[in-house]
């Protein structure tokens, strides 16, 4: 009898949440699924009609969709670094250090600072001419430039001396000349990237190799993520590891690394598994704020991700049906990757 009464009370308290979830989440999600099979356009003169899978066919043939998918995946390159960084920080901050609470707060600071404020700050840091990052890089590059200048001058002056091989070589002098002219990256102004991807077409172009807007956003993302929620999850995970396991390892003669490798890491496997899944989901859905605030998706679309593409199509170009289709393709990718993670990732979770 009491159980039934408790159930009624529980259901009563669940109603607001369920109503909110249905109205603001489930309803729109289902609505967007329906919209993805239509040509719904905010332009009134476009007649509304059911188009079946046409939107999906169009998007798979669209170069933009593939370019922005590549951008989305590219931004996820920072994910392993961010996870490793979080783990490293969590291990450090779980030590019994003086002022550890202060350190934890400091490292978590980026997570509770307003996102837009951070993005504007990073935009200033990345300023190619006057940003502090490039100021520092210029200081570091100065001796390199001077050295390259000096060596190439010496090589040219004494063609038969110890530097003669440089002058004789066909490639060393141009390389030195390039080094003498080395400039820091242009960050948000540049379309360059580490995989030499072309900015306006799917393909590779060696001239595009370098550091540019995409990489700038990855570095910023890693900085934000390292001390964020993942670090807290790892900290919580570490605090739950039974001390007896470490004691036993010590009796067996394990050092710090061995304790980490054979106790901490395996014990944290469920946490890591959860973090990897959540990071994949966040990564695939990410990039909107950065594009909106820092780059408007540029230069030349290189920082446009699928999330921002959905916004462009729906609210700039009014193609709600098409944007819904992109959203559902993105959902399908997220879902598939999560399933794969779940299927194969759980093999490594032993506890």
């Amino acid at each position: 009898m009491k159980q039934r009464s408790d159930l009624r009370v529980a259901l009563f308290f669940l109603i607001p949440n369920f109503v909110g979830f249905s109205v603001f989440m489930l309803g729109p999600v289902m609505f967007s699924l329906g919209a993805s099979f239509t040509n719904w356009n905010l332009v009134k003169s476009v007649p509304f009609r059911f188009v079946g899978l046409e939107n999906f066919g169009t998007l798979f043939q669209s170069q933009d969709f593939w370019l922005y998918s590549i951008n989305t995946l590219y931004f996820m390159l920072g994910m392993p670094v961010a996870i490793a960084g979080s783990l490293f920080l969590a291990v450090l901050l779980s030590q019994r250090l003086r002022g550890v609470v202060l350190y934890r707060t400091l490292f978590y600071l980026p997570s509770f600072t307003a996102g837009v404020a951070l993005l504007i700050l990073w935009k200033a840091l990345y300023n190619p001419s006057f940003g502090p990052i490039n100021e520092l890089l210029n200081v570091l590059l100065e001796p390199v430039r001077a050295f390259a200048d000096a060596v190439s001058a010496a090589a040219l002056l004494r063609e038969r001396g110890p530097f003669g091989w440089i002058a004789a070589s066909g490639e060393a002098l141009p390389f030195l000349a390039g080094l003498a002219e080395a400039q820091p990256p242009e960050w948000l102004a540049s379309t360059r990237n580490l995989f030499a991807l072309r900015p306006n077409a799917v393909g590779v172009d060696a001239a595009q190799w370098g550091l540019g807007a995409r990489d700038a956003i990855i570095f910023m993302g890693v900085w934000t993520a390292v001390g964020g929620g993942n670090m807290l999850l790892y900290l919580a995970g570490i605090s739950n590891i039974a001390p007896e396991l470490y004691e036993a390892a010590e009796i067996d003669g394990a050092g710090r690394w061995a304790k980490f490798r054979h106790v901490t890491w395996p014990q944290l496997a469920p946490t890591t598994f959860f973090i990897v899944i959540m990071s994949f989901i966040a990564g695939l859905q990410g990039g909107f704020e950065q594009a909106r605030v820092m780059t408007l998706g540029g230069p030349a679309g290189t920082t446009t991700t699928l999330a921002y593409y959905i916004y462009i199509k729906a609210f700039e170009e009014f193609q709600i049906g098409y944007a819904s289709a992109v959203a559902w393709v993105l959902f399908s990718i997220v879902f598939a990757i999560t399933l794969v993670n779940w299927r194969f990732g759980s093999r490594y979770v032993n506890y």
């Binding site: 308290f13 003169s45 306006n200 030349a300």
Partner: protein, 565 residues
């Protein structure tokens, strides 16, 4: 325990209800305060009603020197003064609508009319005003905009315009309007935006309503017609209008011992001057630019000056692949890469700011890091600030290309078709056609007034020589610039935002040196024409209009019949 939860839930529900019903406190309506004070002062006679002649006796009493104009000095506080006098002083700024420091006879009459809510020519207790209707205006938030709202509120105390900030984009307005919570009035910055607002069913067709309120679109600068007119229907009124000229820093010219730019100069002359005024540090970083044109100058200046345009006359085809347009874009690239007098993409980023229009160039000019910069009169809103008082600057017309012209623009306000306060919204938009608004625009230097006549004839002197800013001897240049400005006509056959996205991407490639101006223009034209074809496939109504234009000889967006929709 469950009772505690229940109490908390009920408490939260009660709080939600309070939050839902709560309205922020509003400033008291000065008309209510005035009417009560005046009727009280008139005693028994006041209870029967106060005619204009009796009201005038109060005004005469306030006008101590009898010159017909009441100043704040005359309303200075006196011990034991009557309440109406105090209230007149408190509301002085709102009554002095033209902000000339005095309430003249016309403003006194306007005050009486505004108090006489029933319009029977007599003030009675029945004239107590109803609370003002709030009108929401989606526009960019800045001090001049607030002064503009105050002016309207002073003339129309039955309304209270409040600001809903936007930053030049239209997505927020469209989403709000479609959700049924849109602003009453919203801004529009281009013909492409107007087309989008109209075609998404948001903008109100105000042709007849505005004509009935005395708005004559022929009196508005042609450069801003695309922002308000679509298919000969009127959807709003421009709040201002603008065209670019060249700002120059007199100190930097003097230090270089160079004469100031002449009124009739060519780009060759401009480049020669800019080269002498460009300075870089040992690393090649710009310390001072000779000229800054802005990233999209190819579109607003060079393509039109070289005889090109975004679309053909009928709007059926993007015309940027025409030789004239390509030559204009090439010239822009030459300024950056061949002559090195304008910033590259990197340098543009170094100057870029968050939000606003052209703030990068403006800031560089204000901090004396460029000798010349292409910009509008609205820069004065910044340059007049005390922080820049030390600056000495002048304005010259744009140098001559093959043609002498540039694209004009501005900011228009449109009415939400589903506004619950349509009358108020129309009153606000129509107010932009009047003398008070136009004079305020010219006085604030928020670009230029939207109506032509307020720059000529009786109004010319006030515009050309503002006694509050005697150093600004260049207003004639703005007028000439606007006379030479042409409107950028959008194509009705493509979504404007799609076009802007294409232009943005290709401009990035051009400014980054990854494409020549020639190649970028060809690619922009190709992509826009493809977007036109795509739109025609979607919209049979547009297709019919398009076919009709083709039948009259207009060029199609496709090059071969195989690409036709």
């Amino acid at each position: 325990m469950k009772h505690v939860f229940l109490i908390i839930a009920l408490g939260l529900a009660a709080l939600s209800l309070v939050a839902w019903r709560w309205r922020p406190p509003q400033a008291p309506d000065y008309r209510l305060a005035m009417i009560e004070a005046v009727l009280d002062a008139a005693g028994a006679e006041g209870q029967r009603g106060l005619a204009w002649s009796q009201f005038q006796s109060f005004m005469r009493e306030a006008d101590a020197n009898g010159d017909g104009v009441i100043t704040l000095m005359e309303l200075a506080h006196r011990p034991g003064e009557p309440l109406w006098r105090t209230r007149l002083r408190v509301a002085f700024d709102r009554i002095d609508a033209n902000a000339d420091g005095g309430i003249d006879a016309a403003e006194q009459r306007r005050l009486f009319d505004s108090l006489d809510a029933t319009g029977d020519g007599v003030l009675t207790p029945h004239d107590r005003p109803a609370p003002p209707t709030t009108l929401l205006w989606a526009t960019d938030d800045n001090p001049v905009r607030r002064e503009q709202m105050d002016l309207f509120n002073a003339y129309h105390p039955e309304y209270r315009v409040v600001l809903d900030p936007i930053v030049g984009t239209m997505e927020k307005v469209i989403v709000q309007c479609i959700a049924g919570v849109g602003p009453d009035i919203f801004d529009c910055y281009s013909g492409a935006q107007l087309a989008a607002f109209v075609r998404s069913g948001i903008a109100y067709d105000a042709t007849e309503a505005l004509a009935a309120r005395g708005v004559d679109v022929n009196e508005v600068w042609p450069a801003v017609h695309p922002l308000i007119l679509l298919d000969d229907r009127l959807y709003g009124h421009p709040g201002n209008t603008s065209a670019d000229a060249v700002w120059y820093n007199k100190r930097l010219f003097d230090e270089a011992r160079m004469p100031y730019p002449p009124d009739d100069w060519t780009w060759d002359e401009c480049i020669a001057i800019a080269k002498r005024l460009t300075r870089r540090d040992a690393r090649g970083r710009p310390v001072q630019f000779g000229l800054m044109t802005g990233r999209f100058a190819w579109r607003t200046t060079f393509v039109p000056q070289w005889g090109g345009s975004l679309y053909n006359e009928e709007g059926t085809r993007c015309a940027l692949d025409a030789p004239e347009a390509r030559a204009g874009a090439e010239f822009h690239c030459d300024l950056i890469y061949r002559h090195g007098v304008c910033p590259s993409a990197t340098e543009e980023i170094a100057m870029a700011n968050q939000g606003g229009w052209g703030l990068g160039e403006q800031n560089w000019f204000a901090t004396e890091r460029t000798a010349m910069a292409v910009g509008g009169r609205w820069w004065l809103c910044t340059l007049r600030r005390p922080a820049f008082k030390h600056l000495r600057y002048g304005v010259a017309p744009l140098p001559r290309g093959p043609l002498r012209r540039g694209v004009g623009g501005g900011r228009a306000s449109l009415v939400n078709r589903n506004s619950p306060h349509l009358e108020g919204a129309l009153a606000f938009v129509a107010f932009m056609h009047g003398k008070e608004w136009n004079q305020l625009m010219n006085r604030q230097a928020d670009a230029l007034a939207p109506v032509l006549k307020y720059h000529y004839g009786d109004y010319a002197d006030a515009f050309l020589r503002d006694p509050r800013h005697p150093d600004e001897d260049f207003n004639a240049v703005w007028l000439e610039t606007l006379e030479n400005a042409i409107p950028e006509r959008p194509s009705p056959f493509v979504i404007g935002q799609r076009v802007e996205r294409i232009i943005l991407n290709e401009s990035d490639l051009m400014a980054g040196g990854l494409k020549t101006g020639d190649q970028a223009m060809r690619d922009v034209a190709r992509d826009i024409n493809e977007a036109i074809v795509e739109m025609l496939r979607l919209d049979p109504e547009l297709r019919a209009r398009y076919d009709a234009l083709l039948a009259q000889g207009a060029a199609p967006a496709w090059n071969s019949e195989a690409d036709a929709p």
